[in-house]
Amino acid sequence: MSQQSVIAVNRFGLGAGPGELAAASADPRGWLAKQAGQPAPAYPQFERLAHSSEALKEYPRWIAKLGRARAGMEGGADMAAQRSVEGTFREHFGPIMLEEQGARLAVAAATPVPFHERLVWFWSNHFTVSAEKALIFGLVGSFEREAIRPHVTGNFAEMLLASSRHPAMIMYLDNHLSVRKGWQPRQVARSAAFPPPSGLNENLAREILELHTLGVNGGYTQADVTEFARVLTGWTVRPMMNVPAGGTPGFLFDAARHEPGSRQLLGKTYAEDGVAQGEAVLRDLAAHPATATFVATKLARHFIADEPPPAAVARIARAFGDSGGHLPTVHSALLDCPEAWERPLAKLKSPIEYIVSCLRALPAARAAQPQSLYFTLRGMGQRPYFAPSPQGWPDAAQAWAGADALWKRIEFAGILAARTGSSVDPLRLASESYGDALGEGTRRAIERAESRQQGLALWLASPEFQRR
């Protein structure tokens, strides 16, 4: 087994499933390029999951409930009513989220195109939405299916537009509450529980510039942030408090909330053009050289090394610029970087990468209840859909290599091995997934294990298997 195929299935893929290393070994690069270039198969696990518009249909009911609870609290009542509504909101959407998480893990554990799936993860993390904000509890799963997956084989600008318009992103970064000065809600009863917004909220504008496109050193100023926030006024969601009832649930450009006028952004003037003004800004941001470098740096960090090699960054950024952000071209440039193929095991797996690679290696473990995996991941500090901030999950070993993080992996390896180890030959599993990258120390430790279970636990907790 060549080093190249070990890298292809473990670093670019999601960890070797049975027979996968052998399948990739004839042409590792071609095996990956094919996955990056074409849409993923239709996953049956996603068939039952609802579109964001379905979840949004239920929002008015919850908003009304919450409003009633809040109204009842005026005059110093306690928080119990409020808590119970939020509790039932979570209870309602909790099983939906669990189903979403279970489907996502099941797809990752068994997909025949693991590189494609990893790219989905990468871009989802780039455009992070997090259920840390309870308001989008019911939307974080559909965000990935609607705004990210369709564009992984398409164009960065389209993904940026889809993300920026998606109800989950708009609500996560508060743009539904950003309005022009002097805006007054019409056709809507004023509610004391939800006072209507009265001006700008710059959250979405800032994070698009800082995290989705130019990067924090991309050359924008506070004045650009404020101007962009004005451009984005009116980008909201239906149905929502203080939005007229009716219409299709989803993205809404509400001209009444939009701050009219031409805007100066990054030295360019954008004439008033309704929703198209914002779209024009987003397209220019997508095509900006700073965006190419920012995205290339993140790709190189994820796929090559925590300290991205400058030559690889330059190559990927050039492909991004030359192709106008055509993502299959960009992903292919990544595969062309010699640095990506030089050193196996350069990256420490994140908790979710670790768990999924265990599931891929051990088909018997895939029957695990999504709920137990969810709690395991929460214990490891990477609860799916709950990234701690709009920056997303960290992508460097230092974030995941602490004592507690390692301990949780060992606990998981121990319990998984105890459950499945009797039917697995650990040494064979190790060499069939890591080939020559399996070190002598680990090989000896597995050979000398006092039981198959212990041998498997040693392999799953080994320095090699924790890396990709």
Binding site: G402, I410, L458
Partner: protein, 394 residues
């Protein structure tokens, strides 16, 4: 006739000078002193947490978000006739009255932009630049302290080690777990296996020590909010006669762009949790509280004026809390720049007048015995102009 404000100032004055004299702080021996670093990630809204109700521009500038003056419904808990604590910081107000809490206002790190992630990185790495290095000042202080104890000198409470504690000095971490402890035979063999892997070997050694330390403990930390459970665990770890003397706790969720108002706002929820967690930490530390200083800081403050959604956007100057028996508390430390429109930083933020590194340096000198020269050379490079705050620690 006395106006309400004059009366309040008078009351505040009496509270400040007329409180029960505290027993003279017994000097702790070097090995008894402890330091806890609590990072309030997301940018705490300092003018809600520590309302400057006595500033003539406070009510007008804050508008709907203004915390009323003490003595009015929902009013601040008075500190010194000028500043108050948010009414939900009840336990912290008690600590203030007992002179075990000091409040610093109009503070900031050297960072002057408005990105959380650069701001947090700079505050933690200890240089004047985001990503100025990939290790943290608290770790550097562990290396620089004289008479380091054997074993991990510091513990990060949580699943990962924050940048401020990353670096060459050995650091443990711990968080609650639902899974069973692996059997000892497996652990012994893993110890062997990790020998050739510097990164994992160190983490593994400290993890095993942590497990010994926390043996027999309720796995989930007694329920409750995670941060409170971590505060309890920090007290248990630092409370031991021998063992780590430094702990960090990460506490996120302070990025309150919307709906800060009232009982159900995210800010209120966080302030209550902070208040409870400080009380829990004190209780859990037991007698060791006497020798402890707890630093509570955030990467920046928020805009002075509310934004369009009853929240606040990213700002500059903020506030910090310092609690513990080793603190000369009961006072507000602020070179107050005022909230008049022309006094604001870039026309929108509280202007910072105190560098947080002055607090950090004083805390490291007092609690860990780090020398001035080490503070300037290794812990906070390029910080000679920032003098340690005087007289804050016993």
């Amino acid at each position: 006739m006395t106006t309400r404000r004059q009366a309040l100032q008078l009351l505040g004055g009496i509270a400040a000078i007329g409180g029960l004299p505290r027993l003279t702080l017994a000097a702790s021996s070097a090995s008894e002193r402890r330091l806890v670093f609590v990072f309030l990630r997301g940018g705490m809204d300092a003018l809600s947490a520590v309302p400057a109700y006595g500033d003539p521009n406070y009510a007008a500038q804050r508008g709907i978000l203004a915390v009323p003056a003490p003595g009015t419904p929902g009013g601040a808990l008075d500190l010194d006739g000028r500043f108050g604590l948010n009414p939900y910081l009840v336990e912290m107000h008690k600590l203030y009255a007992a002179r075990e809490l000091a409040v610093l206002h109009a503070v900031a790190s050297p960072y002057r932009e408005r990105s959380h992630f650069d701001g947090q990185n700079l505050l933690e790495n200890g240089t004047p630049k985001p990503f100025g290095r990939d290790t943290g000042w608290l770790n550097a202080a562990l290396t620089a302290r004289p008479n380091a104890l054997a074993g991990p000198a510091a513990f990060a409470l949580g699943q990962s080690i924050p940048l401020v504690l990353r670096g060459p000095a050995q650091v443990g971490s711990w968080s609650p777990s639902r899974l069973p402890v692996p059997d000892a035979a497996l652990l012994d063999r893993l110890g062997e296996l990790y020998r050739g892997d510097a990164l994992l070997a160190q983490s593994f050694t400290t993890a095993r020590e942590a497990q010994k330390m926390m043996e027999g403990r309720d796995g989930m930390g007694g329920g409750g909010q995670p941060v409170e459970a971590l505060a309890k665990a920090a007290g248990e770890i630092l409370g031991r006669r021998e063992g780590p003397r430094v702990a960090s706790i990460d506490f996120g969720g302070w990025d309150t762009h919307i709906g800060q108002l009232g009982e159900y706002g995210p800010l209120t929820r966080n302030l209550r949790l902070l208040d409870r967690s400080v009380a829990t930490l004190k209780q859990s530390l037991g007698p060791a509280w006497q020798h402890t200083a707890v630093l509570m800081v955030s990467e920046f403050g928020r805009t002075v004026a509310p934004n369009g959604s009853n929240g606040t956007d990213h700002g500059t100057g903020g506030a910090a809390f310092v609690a513990g028996g080793a603190v000369r508390g009961g006072r507000v430390i602020a070179d107050w720049p005022g909230l008049a429109a022309n006094a604001l930083y870039e026309g929108r933020d509280l202007r910072p007048t105190l560098d947080l590194r002055a607090l950090f340096k004083a805390a490291l000198a007092a609690q860990l015995g780090v020398t001035d020269s080490a503070l300037e050379a290794e812990v906070f490079p390029d910080s000679r102009a920032v003098r340690p705050l005087q007289g804050l620690f016993a």
